[in-house]
């Protein structure tokens, strides 16, 4: 490559990521400038340091880290870029905290299309701007073809927790109510609809969304009554409730009739022989709330666009066995157990 060519712009239409893009030289600087800084632009990144400094507001700090590996990288309603922003923000927000800043580190497979990388970075930038939570530091590595699956993103998020709030998974008490912010299974079904050998046609979109706005409203009116919040991602509602039951040494009783599930999600689950209670969500939260604060919390949720379909789906009960029990729509009872392994589509 001649010196002159190096000053050419990246070929974002047909170009591919090469090992040189991660080698620390000019190519890497160009990739960072033309793809990442362009997409994620803010005052911190513009300074071009290996770290960013910021002032800390009053309160306790909250920090989280997360990794994103998803196949396919683009799915109806989002992609790995927006998902990484939303997921990290939500992990901070579930503490009741206000998310402030994110970091993002990209591990890219040699040969990955630059156009796709740009799409992902742009979508990440858009999600961060919409949420008002900037990505203020980042990193890029390129690995040989076959050593990664397109692109992996790992993130960190920091936020600040107002004094007096202390949500925790061991705080659910018998009598507390279980609130769910909206319909179950949208994300998992949207992603599965694009998997090879499973493909089906659906208009369902991933529910991927940043929930800190919704959480802020809930904290404002029912802060003292919030015991714990979780976003039921992998393993769905079932996994989350079972975890909370373990950590708080309680049981749950939920009502199948009260669970919001979209008809197409229910249909796709029937088709694949899986249970929507175990399917992932990326824009929903479960809140365990003290009974006297339930009405206020529910009203605040329903007043927010991401909680319009919020519902009380059950309550915390005393149970030495820590079962999550469900009254079925049919009138009988069953357990909602931990998932055994991964949920695989089945024929019987």
């Amino acid at each position: 490559m001649s010196a002159r060519q190096r000053h050419l712009k990246l070929d974002l239409a047909a170009g591919r990521v090469e090992l040189s893009h991660g080698a620390g030289g000019r190519a890497m600087a160009q990739l960072i400038a033309e793809v990442f800084h362009q997409a994620l632009d803010n005052e911190w990144l513009r300074r071009g340091n290996d770290q960013s400094a910021f002032d800390v507001a009053a309160g306790r700090m909250v920090m989280t880290t997360d990794g994103y590996v998803i196949s396919p990288l683009f799915f109806p309603g989002g992609d790995i870029g927006s998902l990484a922003v939303h997921g990290t923000i939500n992990d901070v927000a579930m503490a009741g905290a206000r998310p402030l800043y994110l970091s993002a580190s990209f591990i890219i497979e040699e040969g990955f299309r630059l156009a796709d990388l740009k799409k992902i970075a742009d979508s990440m930038g858009r999600a961060a701007r919409e949420a008002g939570v900037p990505v203020i530091t980042g990193d890029t590595k390129v690995v040989e073809r076959g050593k990664a699956d397109g692109v992996f993103i790992s993130t960190a998020g920091v936020g600040v927790l107002p004094h007096g709030l202390d949500l925790s998974a061991d705080k659910a008490r018998p009598g507390d109510k279980v609130l769910l912010s909206g319909s179950l299974g949208d994300h998992g079904v949207a992603v599965m609809s694009r998997r090879q050998n499973l493909a089906f046609e659906t208009t369902i979109q991933s529910d991927s969304a940043a929930l800190h706005g919704l959480v802020g409203e809930m904290v404002a009116v029912a802060g003292a009554g919030l015991r714990v919040m979780r976003d039921p991602t992998r393993g769905g509602l079932a996994a989350t409730l079972n975890e909370l039951a373990q950590q708080s040494c309680v049981g749950f009783r939920i009502d199948e009739d009260g669970l919001p599930i979209k008809p197409q999600v229910a249909a796709a689950c029937e088709l694949l022989g899986i249970d929507p209670l175990y399917v992932a969500n990326e824009g929903k939260l479960i809140a365990i709330v003290a009974p006297e604060h339930t009405d206020a919390a529910l009203a605040a949720m329903r007043a927010h666009p991401l909680g319009r379909e919020a519902a009380i789906i059950g309550e915390v009960v005393e149970d030495e066995h820590r079962f999550v029990q469900m009254t079925t729509a049919f009138g009988g009872g069953r357990i909602v157990d931990w998932l055994a392994g991964d949920q695989l589509p089945r024929i019987c």
Binding site: F200, E201, T202, T203, P263, Q264, A266, A267, A268, E270, L271, G273, R346, I347, C348
Partner: protein, 75 residues
Amino acid sequence: MCLAIPAEVIELLPDQMARVSVDGVGKLVSVALLDELAIGDYVVLHVGFALTRIDPEEARRTLALLGQLGAEVLA
């Protein structure tokens, strides 16, 4: 068991294939095991194959019977 669900035929395609809808979820399936299929028919779908047609009249009758049972006893 054999997991199978009712699906509506919405398009007949070449090679004995059809597009079906399960409450709005679309899927391409084989209809090679059935003859004289029409759009709007409901079939029982198993591993990507339509196994049998659902008889709407019999379905209605079964439901009516189920309703009647309750009405009799609970009246």
